[in-house]
């Protein structure tokens, strides 16, 4: 399915689980926060999420800042 991840088109070949997507991006789940279609999805709800065609995903991590 075609997703938009961090503003870029991304063809995802799996079942649309959060775990798959993070694995594809090699993003560490414990250090990543997720927003799907503008909504923050808490880690405790990741297992129940199924991404769908056209979903916009933001993968956010900590950065240096004051």
């Amino acid at each position: 399915m075609n997703l938009v991840v961090n503003g870029e088109p991304y063809p995802h070949s799996g079942q649309g689980t959060v775990a798959e997507l993070l694995e594809e991006f090699r993003a560490a789940p414990a250090m990543t926060a997720l927003m799907i279609n503008g909504e923050v999805v808490r880690r405790s709800h990741w297992d129940s999420v199924r991404l769908a065609e056209g979903d916009e995903v933001e993968m956010i991590v900590a950065a240096a800042g004051g």
């Binding site: 991006f25 090699r26 923050v40 933001e58 956010i60 991590v61 900590a62 800042g65 004051g66």
Partner: protein
Amino acid sequence: MEDGLRLGDRVFRSRLLLGTGKFSSVETMLAAVRASGAELVTVALRRFNRERADDDIFGPLAAIDGITLMPNTSGAMNAREAVRAALLGREITGSPFVKLEIHPNPHHLMPDPIETYEAAVRLVKEGFFVLPYISADPVLARRLEDAGCAAVMPLGSAIGSGQGLATLSMLQVIIRDAGVPAIVDAGLRSPSEAAAVMEMGGDAVLVNSAIAAAENPELMAEAFAIAVQAGRQAHRAGLMPRSETAAATSPLTAFLAAEGS
């Protein structure tokens, strides 16, 4: 804990809060964090980047003993975006603290008081300990305190400007009237300014650029730590009254002028 800084349900020994931006390298930043003795350290958020997957600062910061991270909402243009950023920051760090900052104008980076207030109300309801970055406005400070913020963080001068305590007289009012900790955030350049804030009763300072942009950030971090401690101790000790006239500290005896034989 004797003379601790109470924020939310936590008590901190250190009254120096540190920002992690603008350091020349992660190693330099980590050395400064250690040297500062700061227990509350801010981080920002960014999009995950596959090419920079190892460039994560959360791991190394979280590994330093005694540090609580405080994500900021930098980049948020309004209350809605700030709430979103706060929720994302909490997901990553697990920290209940948030530095609420909404400064839509990149030229002066002055905080938007209306959006900041609105976001503060919502974040308090979400269970955050909210530390809002604000102009040195005593009225807004009181409104945010009444809204349940854990502290107020008025600016000394524009972010990263190094113009010091340009807002001094209003800071004094906020410090005098605030019922929550008043933390001076932004604009400081030198440790003496941090000491001045603490001497006049400020509860803490948040410093980033003054340390990150110093020639030797690690040494400057330590200098700020000492200054904050000295200023705090001076405040607790109570400064002597000011006098318009001199008052001799040595006996003014007349014998030196005695006529010789």
